[in-house]
């Protein structure tokens, strides 16, 4: 089977407007989460990772007129532009565009600005992105809750292996909108302060916004490459908003992913968890990881840095896992305190330099969906 490689990538977030800026911020221990005023909350606001629209518009002005594009569009277009800048030879006639978002431009429902009503739809978002760069293939839009960003990468791999195309630009993005904030608040799923994945004191998620893009390709480049060698998703078939107590779907996707990758759990060097910091999610993950024999593998959640960026999160975290492997660095799980799950897991608490070959990225979401991606370093001389 051909190698499917994760090549150029970009992350647009409160931590920075490139992957390297994001990784530098992570290494410095900086979080994108800040207190933001919001009248929905008794204490006057909530902690979230929100991109400064003025900084964003400044950055975007190199590409076009910021007034003509929504905040989310600016973020996603910047992410793709950065990927294309470093791949000038890429042919947009044959390159697929795969877009992941849960709610797209839903914030236009609260504040339409000068945009047409239709602009809030995911199809409209797809057309804007397609036309901006001139992709000729119709975009493929994936909206599958919080696994969307990672599932989009798996979809790219599956289509490339089936011979549909050789290259795909995968882009993911979501905003912190009042629509989503009010919903998670009604679930009492939001943390009162900063989210604390896997900690005893965890009390819910922090929301975040970000966009990311990666070029997924079967075309080999020289040097160290990161290949996606296994991917699987599985539904819990248990509950639409509560995770399975036995971690059924997550366990199954990990097993299927390892099987395709022809690896055993003991051969995984690093585990990038979903780790939203809700009581039930983190517990479910710990159960599934223990069932899969992954309890000794160094593990982190990036939610303390970004908050939960919904349809972008699994793509951002896949990109960060890729750079962990390339840099031989394990990044700490920010805001971690005393372990608060019933099964042992090996949380990364400090930056560790270590030779790494393989990583497992997992995600889970509403609707009972779960995803596992397995990455491996390969050298093409």
């Amino acid at each position: 089977m051909m190698d499917i490689l994760l090549q150029e990538d970009s992350i647009i977030s409160p931590l920075g407007f490139s992957t390297s800026e994001n990784i530098n911020a992570i290494k410095a221990g900086n979080s994108g989460l800040q207190f933001h005023a919001n009248s929905r909350f008794q204490n006057g606001g909530f902690y979230a990772g929100i991109i400064d629209p003025t900084f964003l518009a400044d950055e975007f002005s190199a590409l076009g007129d910021a007034k003509k594009f929504t905040k989310l569009e600016q973020m996603m277009l910047l992410a793709i532009q950065s990927v294309l800048n470093n791949n000038k030879q890429i042919d947009l006639k044959t390159t697929a565009l795969i877009i992941s978002s849960t709610k797209g431009n839903i914030n236009l429902w609260d504040n339409p600005q000068n945009f047409s009503e239709d602009r809030a739809s995911l199809n409209s978002l797809g057309k804007i992105i397609q036309n901006f760069f001139g992709f000729e293939l119709q975009p493929i839009i994936v909206s599958n809750a919080c696994i969307s960003g990672g599932l989009a990468v798996a979809i790219a791999k599956r289509f490339i292996q089936a011979g549909k195309f050789d290259n795909a630009v995968v882009v993911a993005g979501d905003l912190v909108s009042d629509f989503v904030t009010s919903g998670f608040q009604s679930f009492q799923a939001l943390s009162n302060s900063l989210c604390r994945p896997f900690s005893k004191t965890r009390d819910g998620i922090s929301l975040g916004e970000a966009a990311a893009a990666v070029l997924v390709s079967s075309e080999i480049t020289k040097g160290d490459n990161i290949a996606l060698i296994g991917d699987a998703s599985a539904n819990d078939a248990n509950h639409i908003s509560g995770p399975s107590r036995t971690g059924e779907g997550l366990y199954k996707s990990i097993q299927q992913g390892l099987k395709e990758a022809q690896l055993s759990a003991s051969e995984i060097d690093y585990l990038s968890a979903h780790g939203t910091a809700t009581v039930f999610n983190d517990e479910m993950e710990a159960v599934a990881f223990n069932r899969a024999g992954l309890n000794h593998v160094p593990i982190n959640s990036f939610k303390g840095f970004y908050g939960h960026t919904l349809g972008a999160s699994a793509l951002i975290e896949t990109i960060l896992a890729k750079h962990s492997l390339l840099n031989n660095e394990l990044y700490p799980s920010l805001n971690f305190e005393e372990l608060g799950v019933s099964k042992p897991i090996n949380i990364i608490q400090n930056l560790v330099k270590k030779e790494l070959q393989t990583a497992l990225k997992t995600a889970s979401g509403f609707g009972g969906c779960n995803l596992a991606l397995i990455l491996k370093k390969i050298n093409n001389g």
Partner: protein, 203 residues
């Protein structure tokens, strides 16, 4: 994709314009004036769904549960039957309801449905499917995407069977086409056959 030659559309269902058809045969039709709410209640009764959770679901999930129930009745499927769904409006119907509630009291029982893939979770629970799920959002019915993606799942062994199709609901207007794809049947799983089965009914 040579292996695809062994794949068939084992069963198919179409729901549009107050009419439910199975393999192109109309099995149930209602008055033109019947809105979605009444349609979904009447169809539930007549088809003897006996699934009380149905009444708590949003309209898109009701539509998905209803259509998959009929499609999979008396079919042998296992837990590895993948769900490959698509539509144009995502979860627009329930998104509007959540948006309206934001002026007053927001309900988690509404918010939880504001993602298109929730219906895949509901179908997975009812039919005990622990399988690959995806929800695509497309301008219009895209047979090629459904065919190509289903084939990648079946040919790579990631799924044993696939339920794929179109589940659209906006402004009380619904448009459903689902099919079961497996190694059994007479209608080859091709783009042309998908388009024919989607296109000819109820027009």
């Amino acid at each position: 994709m040579d292996k695809a030659r062994n794949l068939f559309i084992t069963n198919s269902i179409r729901i549009k314009n107050e009419k439910i058809s199975l393999k192109k045969e109309t099995i149930l039709s209602f008055d033109k004036e019947v809105g979605f709410s009444q349609f979904s209640k009447d169809a539930y009764k007549i088809l003897e769904l006996k699934y009380p959770k149905y009444h708590k679901m949003d309209s898109l999930c009701k539509l998905g549960i209803l259509s998959s129930h009929i499609l999979l009745l008396n079919q042998e499927i296992d837990a590895d039957t993948a769900l490959v769904f698509s539509n144009s409006s995502s979860s627009h119907d329930i998104d509007l309801k959540h948006k309206q509630s934001m002026e007053n009291i927001v309900s988690p029982a509404v918010f939880v449905y504001t993602l298109p893939n929730i219906v895949l979770g509901e179908i997975s629970i009812k039919h005990k499917l622990q399988s690959e799920n995806v929800f695509f959002v497309e301008d219009k019915f895209n047979a090629e995407l459904l065919l190509d993606y289903s084939e990648t799942l079946l040919n790579s062994g990631k799924a044993s069977n696939v339920v794929c199709g179109w589940l659209e609901l906006k402004n009380d207007q619904y448009d459903v086409f689902l099919c079961l794809v497996s190694k059994n049947g007479e209608i080859p799983f091709t783009k042309e056959n998908l388009e024919e089965l989607y296109g000819i009914e109820n027009e």
